[in-house]
Amino acid sequence: MADETVATDDFTGDEDPLATNWETVDWFTAPLKTGGYAKGRSNNNHLAFWDADTFEDDQYSQSYCSDATPTGSQVVGVAVRCRDATHDGYMATVCGWQNTGGVVQKWVQGENTELSYTGWTVGTAEKLFRIQVEGTTIKVFWDGTQYHGDITDSSLTEGYAGIYCSAAKTGFHNSWEGGNIVAAGGGHPTIKRWGGVPGMAINRGVW
């Protein structure tokens, strides 16, 4: 399988709340975009997804998490299969209150469920944080190493790639990328909502 980039955002410029090309999942607040980063604000939970393009059901979301040592209630994470009206999304996070590791959780129809906790050394250097979902299998990578093992979950089948943060004065997003997971050597034109070639959603069938 291979990545097919659908969208990128380096969060240059200032925008508060983050809105251009992004949608905030209902019940959450939009992140703050400032100086090349997307980040949270005190006492807020932010789950937003890139809605300027559509994504196939098999998708990934990744960003470089800069200075990613959240403390206290601070959380930074990446998300897939997000939808706003149904309050959906799979999220992988590193958390201040578990500052040597992270949690995988899901929002399904507005219900928040933790699926996995595992520890690793998060450190302070900028690292690539990635979540991907193929069919019913979720995988999480930090700096290229998989954590949490393969997670099987069937709740969510579609949506958008996105980011999550919570009260994150540190642990913010830099150079985000979202896309599809396609057969290596195959692929198809990137689906673009604005001005692109009309795409065709492929039903991968096996669930």
Partner: protein, 192 residues
């Protein structure tokens, strides 16, 4: 100890700052775990590697089911106890036989859980809403639930012929699980 499987209740309210999570495990500082929820039903299947002391403390709780460490052992004389334990959680288990391994049984249980998850994600419904039991017949379910069950099965590319007439919830859940097929179900590195 090696990684083992447990079935534990949910704790939490499912809210923003109080997620559903497996009871007892989040109190174990630094212990990694993976959990599979039964949709909106109140239990998790959990994989975790505990110390002997942690394991002993956990299984001392009456609401915890510890699956034997050897998943490839046959259930044998434990069959009735396994059936009772699962059915208490509204997991149909009359199909369990003495020659089945724990791994085979758990794969079917996990597949039932995954169908319940899809029902939650697709329709926002739980299976065992008020008054619904394993013996409830399909034609006794509310019309919207019948419709959503069929849509959920179709979303998983499952045959829906069991979702009709006098089929019981017990029969329906087993029929859905059987259609998961040979695809692995993974939890915490354990392959079912």
């Amino acid at each position: 100890m090696a990684k083992r499987l447990y079935i534990v209740p949910k704790t939490g309210t499912g809210g923003m700052d109080d997620a559903y999570r497996p009871k007892y495990f989040t109190d174990l500082d630094g212990v990694s775990w993976n959990a599979m929820d039964y949709g909106l039903e109140p239990h998790f299947l959990v994989a975790s590697e505990l110390t002997t002391d942690q394991h002993s403390a956990l299984v001392a709780n009456a609401d915890v089911i510890a699956v034997p460490a050897n998943l490839d052992a046959q259930v044998g004389t434990n069959r009735d106890a396994v059936v009772d334990a699962l059915e208490t959680l509204n997991v149909p288990a009359g199909w369990v036989t003495t020659t089945m391994t724990y791994r085979k049984i758990l794969k079917i249980v996990a597949a039932i859980m995954l169908f319940a998850q899809r029902l939650h994600g697709h329709a926002g419904l739980r299976i065992f809403a008020s008054g619904i039991t394993l013996s409830t017949k399909f034609n006794q379910l509310p019309a919207n639930v019948r419709t959503k069950l069929i849509e959920t099965a179709k979303s998983m590319n499952f045959d829906t012929s069991s979702l009709s007439g006098t089929s019981t919830v017990r029969q329906i859940l087993k029929a859905m699980a059987d259609q998961w097929g040979s695809k692995d179900i993974k939890i915490g590195g354990i392959v079912l």
